[in-house]
């Protein structure tokens, strides 16, 4: 089994936004589950740290939350992307792609020499 990777500082926001975009409205547990599944269990996410991040995103107006009922008929808090959040996701995704591209080029150029 490959060593687990810590969540890179600042990327958690992007992950949460993207997750909410693809999955629609989700509760906190659902987001944590989804992040783990997508990363193939490689991602080491302290599930507790997810909640301050969710609160921060909400304070910034990028996601909103309200109480609802889960699949198993329990009261749960559901998060969904706001319009501002969608714009923020586009911006951050673009930044990420650019940086990833730069990193990729840089690393491959080194390998050739």
């Amino acid at each position: 089994m490959a060593p687990k990777t810590d969540v890179l500082q600042g990327t958690l926001d992007l992950m949460v936004l993207k997750t909410l975009e693809t999955m629609g409205t989700l509760h906190g547990y659902g987001i944590a589950l989804r992040l783990q599944q997508v990363s193939g269990d490689v991602l080491q996410l302290n599930q507790g740290t997810l909640y301050p991040a969710l609160l921060r995103l909400e304070q910034r107006g990028w996601i909103s939350s309200k109480w609802g009922t889960s699949d198993n008929n329990r009261r749960a808090r559901f998060y969904s992307l706001t319009r501002a959040g969608r714009r923020q996701l586009d911006r951050e995704a673009e930044d990420w792609h650019r940086i990833a591209g730069i990193m990729a080029r840089l690393l491959s150029a080194r390998a050739e020499e």
């Binding site: 509760h27 906190g28 547990y29 944590a32 302290n46 599930q47 507790g48 740290t49 909640y51 301050p52 609160l55 921060r56 909400e58 304070q59 910034r60 107006g61 990028w62 889960s70 198993n72 329990r74 009261r75 749960a76 808090r77 501002a84 923020q88």
Partner: protein, 883 residues
């Protein structure tokens, strides 16, 4: 954008808005339940599933903590914690807290009070449009101010100047308003029609003056002050357009000025104007002549023009005029003075000295509180070391201690503002009348902002050093042993603070001492006349009945005869002005055969129009010849009596008696014969050389504005005012009486500003000495407490009282010696700033400095008395058992 929203949400969260803890707990519980369920489906039993879920989620109290930190503002939480903790610590040491708060309140309160005065008098914008462009203009007087000008010269300025937007003129005016049977001398001025426009103020009611009204025979139009309008006309708005009668003439009321309008004082001793009329001159008038300098000129500079540029241009114009009219202008120059400086002039230095003095008091207060904090830090060393050991960083501890300092300062500032409120009332009560804008003194938001700034600075100054020392001590100090070296270091710091206290206190004491000597010197200096038992009151004879001089002279004679018969009146005389009466009546003095090539350069001599007994009432000595007598009549040989200064200035060592002089114009008027020489008097300033003076008989130069000078045969001259007033009322009820004062009071008013500075400096010095004594007491008694065991051992080994005394005093006197030496040096350096204020004593007067040092040493000795008694009472047995 997102960040700002976040901050806002967090601030709301901190105040308790937003999601609550139990709301989040439920969310978290759901998460945990889901995890548990997942693990159960993977085959765990209930207990194991719960454990696994806990592990996967992490410690829920940490999560809640992190979530709360995100919800609110943890920095504010820390502050709240520090404040609560600090308040608890201060509450537990009430003695320390009280001492520190009182000390700070004294320092901050004194600063707030003086700043309130400085702000009102020096800093606050004048209430006119763009006041920075307003100036006074005129020939430069000896003291740097601008002197009076004549109408024609200003007309030339208007035509030639490029740097001024406009010029306005003002002349004094004392109309008598008779309404509902009571005659009143109204303080008034006549101004050029553009005066109010130049200031940028408009009447509240009616309209201002027009250019057409500022002409001869068209100028009988007035504007009323809000106060006069309310007092004499019942605030009746229909007054506008009506006529009022003054000096038997009718004046149309054009309008009423707003209550907020601050009139410029026509002359510094006059009351504030309550009535305005146009000047009403044109260049053909006699009073408008070149050399008829009795007008104040104000100007508004064009935008971007500096004082230097304006002065340069005006000097060029002055030289042009001098070459065109050589007889009318002497060699001199123009002074363009910013209006603010012209209004505050000589007060500025006095206030700045006081401001510096209170700053010293605040420094001493800071030093004392720092010293208290250092002493307290000793007892808190264990606590701080414990905190450091438990992981508090140095910054965290400094922050905690600074918070405590800030709380102390906050309390001190609140108490200080309360103190300042009382102090300001006191200052206003003792302030000299000549302090301008005193009526605008109040504690407002500007002053409170200043206090807050002072408080913040204060808490940093006195809090940072002890806090930093404590923090480092906390890190290096161990919990078990209290290190002796540390105590020594701290005592050194406290000793340095006490020395600084003493230095500052001595500077203030020396300053107060010099001002005290000045006031004493002023009261002892000879004004040239006898002020004892003399009272003066002014009245004016104007209107149709007194249009001709003989009528005035007849009234004078009736008055002297009747008032002289009032019981208690020893002698009585009339004069056009008296010394320290606030008037100036300077006439060109042209002695036959001794005039300058340009008669405009001849001296200007103060003229006192007097009746024969003036010399006797005032006690001025006759030096040669005779004084004015009953033989000097209107038709007889015109005569003149001069003062010794005048004789010296014009005739040198020659005998002036019998010489002939023209006064006023060099080429007109009768030749007046000098018949006598009298002693010198000071006209308005005891600190300046005596004023050159001349005396003319009222019969030959008749004044309508008169001052009766009455010498009482009892020690209570003021009791004569009522009967003399009654005599005047009997003679003519429409004659207004004003400006009643004893000569003593007039002299005291002249010294009022120095008296004011002296009183305040003495007050500050007392506070400073008290604070320094408290600081000294603290250090010495602390030293005794530290050395209890040492003293005990010495006593046990046979030391006598004298030895113990030497031990305690030795330490204290080293401090006092250093403080006094440093203080003397600092005083010699700093009292030079008092140079313009002191009189009759050198700013580095050795006797004053020695006295100040002596007072300080005595107080220092007193501060030692309690610790000494304590040291002498140390019982060796107890002292040794104690450790």
């Amino acid at each position: 954008m997102g960040i700002i929203r976040e901050r806002w949400s967090r601030l709301r969260g901190w105040f308790g808005f937003g999601r609550r803890d139990d709301d989040f707990a439920e969310e978290l519980r759901f998460h945990q339940d889901m995890l548990e369920e997942k693990h159960r489906t993977q085959g765990f039993d209930a207990a194991a599933a719960r454990r696994a879920a806990r592990i996967e989620l992490g410690g829920d109290s940490q999560i809640v903590e992190q979530w709360r930190d995100q919800r609110g503002l943890p920095a504010l939480d820390m502050l709240r914690q520090d404040v609560r903790y600090g308040l608890r610590m201060l509450g537990r040491a009430p003695g320390f807290t009280t001492a520190a708060v009182i000390t700070l309140a004294l320092g901050i309160g004194a600063n707030t009070a003086i700043f309130t005065v400085v702000d009102a008098v020096l800093l606050r914008q004048l209430p006119y449009a763009e006041p920075d462009r307003l100036v006074t203009v005129g020939d430069r007087a000896a003291d740097g101010t601008s002197s009076n000008v004549d109408f024609t010269t200003v007309a030339d300025w208007r035509a030639r100047s490029q740097t001024f937007e406009s010029f306005a003129l003002m002349r004094t005016w004392l109309p008598t308003l008779v309404a509902s049977g009571e005659a009143e001398q109204v303080p008034a001025v006549r101004v050029s029609w553009n005066y109010f426009d130049m200031m940028g103020v408009r009447p509240a009611l009616g309209r201002g003056f027009t250019a057409d009204e500022d002409r001869p025979d068209h100028w009988r139009v007035v504007l009323l002050s809000d106060q006069l309008w309310r007092r004499r006309f019942g605030a009746d708005p229909s007054i506008v357009g009506r006529t009022i009668v003054m000096n038997d003439r009718e004046y149309r009321v054009a309008g009423v000025m707003p209550a907020t309008f601050e009139p410029l004082d026509a002359e510094r001793y006059y009351q504030r104007a309550q009535l305005w009329a146009p000047v009403g001159y044109d260049v053909s008038m006699r009073d408008a002549c070149r050399g008829c300098r009795h007008l104040r000129a104000f100007g508004r500079l064009k935008r971007g023009v500096t004082i230097e540029q304006a002065t340069g241009e005006m000097n060029v114009i002055r030289e042009q005029l001098r070459s065109e009219h050589p007889a009318n202008y002497d060699a001199g120059s123009i002074a363009v003075v910013p209006l603010r400086d012209a209004l505050t002039g000589n007060v500025r230095r006095a206030l700045l000295v006081l401001l510096a003095a209170v700053a010293l008091v605040l420094l001493i207060a800071c030093a004392n509180v720092a010293s208290l904090l250092l002493a307290r830090a000793l007892t808190r060393q264990r606590e701080l070391a414990l905190r450091a050991a438990l992981g508090a960083g140095r910054a965290r501890i400094v922050r905690q201690l600074l918070t405590e300092s800030a709380i102390l300062t906050g309390l001190g500032a609140v108490a200080g503002v309360a103190l300042a409120w009382f102090a300001v009332q006191g200052i206003a009560a003792v302030a000299p009348v000549s302090l301008p804008r005193m009526d605008h003194i109040r504690i407002d938001s500007r002053v409170l902002a200043f206090t807050a700034a002072v408080a913040i600075l204060t808490s940093v100054v006195f809090g940072l050093i002890p806090a930093w020392r404590s923090a480092s001590a906390g890190l290096q100090g161990t919990l078990a042993v209290d290190s002796r070296t540390n105590i020594a270091g701290r005592s050194r710091a406290r000793a340095a603070i006490v020395i600084a206290d003493l230095v500052l206190a001595l500077v203030l004491l020396a300053g107060a001492g010099l001002m005290l000597r000045t006031v004493v010197a002023l009261s002892r200096s000879d004004p040239g006349f006898q002020s004892d038992r003399v009272v003066t009151l002014a009245f004016s004879l104007v209107g149709k009945a007194y249009a001709e001089d003989p009528a005035v002279v007849a009234f004078q004679n009736h008055f002297l005869e009747r008032a002289g018969a009032v019981p208690g009146v020893d002698r009585i005389a009339l004069a056009g002005q008296v010394p320290f009466g606030g008037n100036f009546d300077c006439w060109g003095f042209h002695a036959k055969g001794r005039t300058k090539p340009n008669t405009a350069d001849d001296p200007c001599i103060q003229r006192y129009g007097a009746t024969p007994d003036y010399l006797g009432v005032m006690g001025i000595p006759l030096r040669a010849g005779r004084f004015i007598s009953d033989e000097d009549l209107t038709g007889s040989q015109p005569v003149l009596v001069i003062s010794e200064s005048t004789a010296r200035e014009v005739w040198g060592t020659d005998d002036p008696i019998g010489s002939e002089v023209r006064i006023g114009g060099a080429d007109r008027g009768p030749w007046r014969r000098v018949i006598g020489i009298v002693g010198d008097t000071h006209h308005d300033d005891l600190t300046a050389p005596p004023t050159a003076a001349m005396y003319t008989p009222q019969t030959q130069v008749t004044d309508s504005f008169l001052i009766a000078a009455i010498k009482s045969s009892t020690s209570d001259p003021a009791s004569l005012v009522a009967p003399v007033r009654a005599v005047l009322r009997e003679l003519d009820p429409s004659v207004p009486v004003y400006d009643v004062a004893t000569m003593h009071a007039r002299l005291a008013a002249a010294a009022a500003q120095r008296m004011f500075v002296m009183r305040l400096l003495a007050g500050f010095a007392s506070v400073a000495v008290l604070l320094a004594a408290i600081g000294l007491y603290g250090v010495v008694s602390h030293g005794v407490a530290q050395r209890t065991r040492e003293v005990g051992v010495r006593v046990a080994l046979g030391a006598r009282r004298r030895d113990i005394l030497r031990l305690v005093l030795g330490q204290g006197f080293a401090l006092v010696g250093a403080g006094v030496a440093g203080g003397l040096a600092a005083a010699i350096f700093s009292t030079r700033y008092l140079r313009t204020l002191v009189f009759g004593v050198s700013p580095v007067d050795p006797a004053t400095l020695a006295a100040a040092a002596g007072v300080l040493a005595l107080v220092a000795l007193a501060a030692h008395s309690v610790p000494i008694r304590r040291a002498l009472r140390i019982d060796p047995a107890t002292a040794l058992r104690h450790e």
